[in-house]
Symmetry: C2
């Protein structure tokens, strides 16, 4: 598969996280000869927070993770992820597969089964051949080593055209705290939540409660603000593990929150940049709405509109379709107060095309691979930003053939 | 443009409606050499009912029609429709264009301006060159004649690949009542309301109030149950004119309501059958929901899902994507009570694929151009039906190039 034209130059250098070891294996879950299982071992007493899809048909591993996070346990932990099969809508067999995997992982690592978190991504409705994974668990446990983020990101890919990673080192009170994360996702992407799978690791020290609160609020600004196709996965899982290995307590640290926000936004953007068939990365900014919620409705209507997204694909500065999307959003809007900009170009205001606007300027702007569409509703102070991509022949080719 | 493979064999024979005369003209609104204006003259004291887009950015003609219908006037009436330009988001000039057109029509037909209804469909955000239409109004008035539905349907087309008409004659108390209608629409189609433009005429006798009530309730079962791309037009207009020429009072006539329902459903289906790029006509039936509203949410989530619609395009019996759509709908659902059928084939039940289901049977069914997808939620008695089409390369081709 051709790498997305919007992909970053390469997988970034990521800081090693004390207390974290990774390993991957080729278990042949669906396809032979490619790494398709990732194991993360968190050796210290690690705090773990998570957010998940709110789909009413969510997969067995999601239900298991939610239940375990609710226990708020302590001690070492592990995360086991496979690609190729989502273990979703697999009835009783789905939960049995999860149990088999978490038991085997707990045995291999000699940790509490209640601290083993799994995820599966890929085809829905087929039984997960979990024995193919359990037989490689011994090898996985033996191969655990620091680093290895790129290999882990590769192992959890499905239709992704590149491995996604992001990280940073933040100085807090003269001491370094490290954050590193990986993600997968390129279709079936919509808030909430639009992650598919994201694993974030830090050596910061912070208890489960504040870690969960921080993750939830940052998730609303990042992964819940992206869309590729408006479809929501049954498997979306975001876990954040804080090993405490740095010894730096980050509870209520704004610097840490900012750094984590940056890493999460980076990964969220990478998912959009790998949107199935995408050739444009688009930021939709809405301001002047009656409320933040209204602003979000307008941003989502624009970001999900097939007609807006096909116009972007055709590099057509078709601002009429943006007016259409504002109109259908359900948010309070007054046609005559609305203004629209493409980048810095004022396109429409006062219920009409702007006097200064030329079709040539709009068409030239649309040639850019990265676009900003701003809509001001002129009503009050409500704001929202979402990120989306265009809708191309590539999306149809991928999804009319691929069985996901 | 190639005619949709789902098109009816041809334009139907429609009954003449007493009190109605039609004419068309080539005004060159956007394209030269094609009929692009339709005039309908309703000579008797005609009752007129209407439903319109609820977009907050609806076009000037829609605002004008809504205001005039609210007056509940009586007397002769006229309907003037152009294609090529939607006169939407055209600021003050938009209302001025409507006024110029309604004044000129009122003069040409010597009727009250408050009884002239207009609609415009086509590109958004460009000033309507209304003088090109007013100069042909004399010719239009002279050419008015009974019949002529096909020419009228042709004149209001934009991306439609065929002219859409439907009609019937219903016997009520031994007397004949005639219904005939035309429609246009193939993209930017979503409830509510999903018509684009629909004009229905009958020689039935019925006052404005009951006519409006009947139209509103039947609209909820027909045009508000179709979707092509989930995008909502700024111009959607449905007018129903009852000339009374038959002398048959149909107030509270169930036979008339049924006949009108049939004509509206036929036209609604024709819009979906002409969905941009469509190769499959799909009925989505949802039952067993906690409420009708929940059933509608599930039906809409399935009917609008890009992943479901691309699977249909690929003739892929990918029922996992239907589970996904149920999950994201926001309706109450229990994975383990859900059942899914393709036509008569039981695909999934009890939270898993059905024992009797084979991928071969599903794949063979998907080859049909007309498909029924049934989902039973197993909770209560809530039901809904929607109609949609697949999402193909054709949709991308049409919308990444066409400026609408």
């Amino acid at each position: 598969m051709t790498v997305s034209p919007l992909a970053p130059a390469g997988f970034p250098e990521l800081p090693q996280i004390g207390g974290l070891r990774l390993a991957t294996a080729a278990a042949g879950v669906r396809y032979a000869g490619r790494p398709d299982v990732m194991l993360a071992a968190l050796d210290a007493d690690t705090s773990i927070a998570g957010v998940f899809t709110r789909s009413s048909t969510r997969a067995a591993p999601v239900l298991d993770c939610e239940a375990k996070l609710g226990l708020g346990g302590t001690g070492p932990a592990a995360i086991l992820v496979n690609s190729g099969n989502a273990n979703a809508f697999t009835g009783r067999a789905g939960l049995e597969a999860v149990k088999a995997l978490t038991d085997a992982t707990a045995n291999a690592l000699e940790i509490d089964e209640a601290r083993v978190f799994t995820a599966s991504t890929g085809v829905i409705g087929e039984t997960l051949p979990h024995d193919r994974i359990t037989v490689v668990l011994g090898d996985l446990a033996e191969n655990l080593a620091p680093g290895g983020f790129e290999a882990a990101a590769e192992a959890i890919r499905t239709t992704d055209t590149y491995a996604k990673g992001a990280g940073t080192v933040v100085e807090i009170g003269g001491e370094s705290v490290r954050i590193a994360g990986i993600a997968k996702g390129s279709g079936m992407i919509a808030p909430d939540m639009a992650t598919m799978l994201v694993y974030l690791f830090t050596d910061a020290k912070i208890a489960h409660g504040p870690l969960q609160a921080l993750l939830t609020s940052l998730n609303d600004l990042t992964f819940n603000c992206i869309t590729v196709d408006g479809d929501t996965s049954t498997s979306d899982t975001l876990l954040l593990a804080a090993t405490g290995a740095s010894g730096v307590d980050v509870t209520e640290s704004i610097a840490f929150a900012d750094a984590l926000h940056g890493v999460m936004r980076d990964l969220a953007h990478q998912v959009v940049r790998d949107g199935e068939g995408a050739t444009k990365f688009v930021e939709v900014r809405v301001s002047g709405a009656a409320s933040d919620e209204d602003a979000r409705k307008v941003a989502a209507a624009i970001a999900n509109s097939p007609l807006v997204k096909t116009a972007l694909a055709g590099e057509d500065p078709n601002w009429g379709r943006i007016v259409m999307a504002v109109g259908k959003s359900g948010a309070e809007a007054d046609r005559d107060r609305l203004s629209i900009r493409f980048g810095d170009i004022l396109v429409a205001e006062n219920g009409w095309v702007a006097e200064s606007y030329t079709e040539e300027a709009g068409a030239a702007y649309m040639k850019n691979p990265e676009l900003v569409i701003s809509v001001d509703l002129g009503l009050a102070g409500g704001m929202a930003t979402m990120w989306t991509c265009d809708l191309t022949h590539g999306y149809i080719s991928i999804n009319a053939d691929y069985r996901s």
